[in-house]
């Protein structure tokens, strides 16, 4: 039993943290909002330079061959900096799908190297989401149809933009016709694969929500330390302190749940879906509380377009219901906890 990360894992995420601090400043994110795609080739190139696009691509296809547990710390950083890129769908979800396909699959040979070098953008669509993010500027769409996996070019589908409150997101209604040609994998294997996608998206989002919560807490703390009223920093007033302390508590007890869910995916734990849904719910709670408390601490400044807080709040609100909303995830918790003879209670936390 050892619930710690390796030095390598920690130093990689630390390096990414320091890198993004410089390379993903809020002003830059605002510039990227203004573009049509909401994505930036320079930002993508920087992420690729750091090895992030290659992270879980197998070494045989030009990647680093790392896994779910390595991703979770990176995802926390992507959340902390609200990185506007289809990195997760491309380099985590699409890679997961491709890896599961047979060696002779075109998807694998053609796309994995392109994902690794950063040149491909892949959008992933499943009916758990009404819209497909980043469909228009994707090089490839990977879509669900009756539990099958289909691959097509965006030009083969009709895409309708549905703008999001998160200015960095680009959501599309995708209309398309499945054919034998687009089918990459049948329903039997597909069912399990899509479950794996939902769970990996779940861990990625939970980790991003954790990062977002931490960022909102940091913004609130910094603001409270600087802003003076009644001749003192507002952060010296206890009501303000306690708002922020409550957020710290929520983050503290969400983090291990999220990190355990990643490990459960990495090891193929039979209760991985339960662990992911638990992670989604607690990380969502932490991020929503962080948003509420941070805006309160900011006063009217927090209600403006100008204050950076908005980009993290809106990202959190949007992500919280993506790839399964709280209704979906709570149902998965209930299914386990309320089953007859459920393995509850002390000594069951790590059993199978």
């Amino acid at each position: 039993m050892d619930f710690t990360f390796t030095e390598d894992q920690l130093s990689l995420s630390d390096a990414i943290h320091k890198f993004l601090m410089v390379e993903a400043a809020p002003e830059l994110l605002r510039e990227i909002w203004e573009t049509e795609s909401g994505r930036s080739a320079e930002m993508r190139a920087k992420l690729a330079d750091q090895g992030l696009t290659a992270l879980s691509v197998p070494e045989a296809y030009g990647g680093m061959g790392l896994g779910d547990l390595d991703w979770v710390l990176i995802q926390q950083e992507l959340g902390y900096y609200a990185i506007p890129d289809s990195l997760t769908a491309t380099a985590y979800l699409a890679v997961y799908l491709s890896k599961a396909l047979p060696e002779d699959s075109k998807l694998k040979a053609h796309w994995l190297p392109k994902i690794a070098d950063g040149s491909a953008r892949i959008a992933v669509g499943h009916p758990i989401n009404p819209f497909v993010a980043d469909a228009a500027n994707a090089s490839l769409l990977l879509l669900w149809h009756a539990d099958e996996l289909h691959a097509l070019r965006p030009s083969e589908a009709t895409l309708t933009l549905n703008p999001s409150i998160d200015s960095s997101r680009r959501l599309y209604r995708v209309q398309w016709t499945p054919t034998d040609k687009t089918r990459v994998c049948g329903a039997e294997q597909g069912r399990e694969l899509w479950q794996g996608v939902i769970n990996r998206a779940g861990v990625a989002i939970s980790a991003q929500l954790l990062g977002l919560a931490q960022r909102m807490l940091d913004l609130g703390t910094d603001y409270a330390a600087q802003r003076k009223q009644f001749g003192k920093p507002i952060g010296s007033f206890q009501a303000v302190k306690h708002h922020l302390a409550d957020v710290a508590v929520k983050i503290e007890f969400a983090r291990p749940v999220v990190q355990r869910a990643a490990q459960s995916l990495a090891t193929g734990h039979p209760r991985a879906s339960l662990h992911v849904s638990h992670a989604r719910l607690v990380a969502g709670e932490a991020a929503r509380l962080a948003a509420r408390k941070s805006i309160q601490v900011h006063g009217a400044m927090g209600y403006t377009w100008e204050a950076d807080l908005q980009m993290f709040m809106k990202r959190a609100w949007a992500l919280d219901s993506t790839w399964g909303d709280a209704i979906f995830h709570k149902a998965r918790i209930a299914e386990f906890v309320l089953a007859e003879g459920a393995a509850l209670g002390p000594a069951e936390t790590f059993t199978h």
Partner: protein, 388 residues
């Protein structure tokens, strides 16, 4: 990361499970806040000690098993799983003992620890005074060195289990001219010394779970001082650190309550589901108890690898005390009009343990550093916000 137990850990769990199955009393003991119940619980401590289970984290030569924190968690899981009695000596075993090991002389360790492990000395804590609650540095009870004895005058209060306990540890002002956290000394004393008067205080459930302790020229040998004179605050903070940190409330306790809550809900589901917020609270209880366990395993793993507990430990106290309230409030909502029955009521078999727990849960956010004080600590030491 490896979230599986080693073979050795599995064997250890099996050993605990087997011993508990053979030895945990079949019938629940009487509350240790009664004379009779206190004696029963003392006997249970002795029994635990016979099996060398009363202080598993202590070194072998002191009667423990030199268990690391992961083993301790396994032990606690099996302990609560088996429905074993509450630990009447928890303040000694979990709070004073680690401090004794850090600050005590070899002679003090040999004198106090084996008797503590065997339940021969049950310990009470003496921090709070009428004028010093959250503000512990306002302690006024004096202990003035005269020759080789301290002479103690003053009053402690809210001292848990002091009505029946044998010994007390706490902070006393040894420098009468000192202010705040200076001039305080950590002293251990038997509660049967001449000049000590103990006045029981009834708690919410009507039992004398804590007491006032009055000192009238009580003479305590200077050898009972723990750590240096005037250094008591630092020694005490070590105790408070352990308390807030890990050992005061192991996650297994809350996982057991969450499990019981799910079972209660299942038995009354038809009625309870008419208010959907109950189901939600039941699920949240299970999730939060698991989260507390995961967090503790993560902290324990870090400590086993040589890490330290920082100010984030203050988040623990808030989390478990609020969880405990949530679970018991939810149970009371499910029990509805039967929840109010006293334990002796003929029809209280199902509800009485919940009422008892509900009452005790009210105290969780108050003792061991109130949750407001914990939030202050988080804001100032973890987030770095300015002091008032």
């Amino acid at each position: 990361m490896r979230l599986e137990y080693t073979e050795r850990q599995k064997k250890f769990r099996a050993e605990v499970r087997e011993w508990m199955a053979a030895n945990v009393p079949k019938q629940a003991l009487t509350s240790f806040d009664t004379k009779e119940g206190f004696a029963q619980h003392r006997a249970w401590e002795a029994k635990l000690n016979e099996g060398r289970w009363s202080a598993v984290t202590w070194p072998k030569e002191l009667g423990g098993r030199s268990c690391d924190l992961i083993d301790w968690l396994i032990f606690e899981e099996e302990y609560w799983r088996a429905g074993a009695p509450l630990r009447v000596n928890q303040n000694g075993v979990f709070l004073l003992a680690p401090t004794l090991m850090e600050y005590g002389t070899d002679e003090q360790k040999a004198r106090f620890l084996p008797r503590m492990a065997a339940g021969e000395d049950i310990w009470a804590q003496g921090w709070s005074e009428p004028g010093a609650g959250s503000d512990m540095a306002a302690i006024r009870t004096k202990a003035i060195l005269e020759g080789d004895h301290y002479v103690i005058n003053g009053q402690k209060t809210w001292s848990t289990r002091a009505v029946f306990a044998d010994w007390c540890f706490g902070l006393f002002r040894t420098d009468p001219d000192s202010q705040r956290h200076h001039g305080l000394t950590f002293i251990l004393l038997p509660l049967n010394l001449p000049g000590i008067t103990i006045r029981p205080i009834k708690q919410l459930n009507g039992l004398p779970g804590f007491a006032e302790i009055f000192f009238d020229n009580v003479r305590v040998p200077a050898a009972n001082r723990l750590g240096a004179e005037g250094q008591g605050w630092n020694v005490a903070m070590a105790t408070a650190g352990f308390e807030r940190g890990l050992m005061l409330r192991s996650p297994a306790r809350f996982q057991k309550t969450a499990q019981n809550l799910v079972a209660l809900y299942q038995r009354h589901r038809e009625h309870a589901d008419r208010d959907p917020s109950i189901r939600d609270a039941v699920l949240k209880s299970w999730m939060d108890a698991e989260a507390y366990a995961l967090s503790t395993y993560q902290t324990a793993s870090r400590l086993v690898r040589g890490g330290h507990i920082g100010p984030e430990a203050s988040t623990n106290k808030i989390f478990w005390s609020e969880l405990d309230l949530l679970m018991h409030e939810t149970a009371m909502r499910i029990l509805g009009a039967r929840g109010e029955l006293m334990p002796e009521a003929p029809e209280a078999a199902e509800s009485a343990p919940w009422l008892d727990g509900f009452l005790f849960a009210q105290a969780g956010p108050i003792y061991a550093g109130s949750n407001e004080i914990q939030r202050n600590i988080i804001a100032e030491r973890m987030l770095g916000l300015p002091r008032a």
